[in-house]
């Protein structure tokens, strides 16, 4: 493999040691472990959202309004994709901030996820009531 191509492959390789790991100082190991546990909690949340999407689409009976099940499942699945993708981004951003002594970054994704799940919950409640009447 030519050197320039090898360098490009290394740049896009997510498993390569990132340069920011050499910045600043190693934080207290307890904070690193807490950050790692938060990352794992996001991964578990993503799995729960995906399981909810599968359950809504495949196990819940069709509502009177066609397509509602699919929309609810799609919102849950999209939330799962978002949560799993951003888990690593958030972990890396927090780790980098701790290394350089900066404040932890704010993420608007929390609000986005909260809004999406509230919308799914309200919609499921309303359609369940309508279905029961």
């Amino acid at each position: 493999v030519p050197p320039d191509q090898r360098a490009m492959m290394a740049a896009v390789n997510p498993f390569k040691r990132p340069a920011w790991l050499d910045e600043g100082e190693d934080p207290d190991y307890r904070y690193s472990l807490a950050n790692e546990r938060t990352f794992l909690a996001w991964i578990r949340t993503a799995l729960a959202l995906l399981a909810g999407a599968i359950a809504v689409v495949q196990l819940v009976p069709e509502f009177r309004i066609p397509g509602v099940r699919t929309v609810l499942g799609a919102v849950l699945a999209a939330s799962g994709v978002l949560a799993s993708g951003l888990a690593y981004v958030r972990w890396a951003a927090n780790e980098r901030s701790m290394r350089t002594g900066r404040p932890l970054p704010y993420s608007g994704v929390l609000l986005l996820l909260a809004v999406a799940l509230t919308a799914v919950g309200v919609a499921a409640f309303v359609f369940a009531i309508v279905q029961a009447r």
Partner: protein, 92 residues
């Protein structure tokens, strides 16, 4: 301070919980896939089972120290793959 500190143990248990959650998700997808003859659900189950295996293996390091960036990236990649395959399975 002992190598096997309480924060390390808590993190080790968090990795184990994640592995268990992924395995449970894999079982759910496999059960539904076999019952309803949906091959994409079986693919979801296989990817989720790989994710459970990765979390199980890499979590062992947390009892002593924080795991490497590669372990976190690997689990994140498995989670994204599981999520994308699940979306494909739902659309199929």
């Amino acid at each position: 301070m002992s190598d096997r500190s309480f924060p390390g143990t808590r993190t080790f248990l968090a990795w184990r919980r994640t592995a268990l959650t992924a395995a449970t998700f894999a079982a759910l997808a496999l059960r539904l896939g076999l019952a309803q003859r949906r091959p994409w659900d079986v693919v979801v189950a296989v990817v989720a089972a790989l994710m459970a295996g990765a979390a199980f293996v890499h979590g062992r390091r947390s009892a002593d120290r924080a795991v490497s960036q590669q372990s976190v990236a690997l689990l994140a990649a498995c989670a994204v793959a599981t999520a994308l395959v699940t979306v494909v399975a739902l659309l199929a």
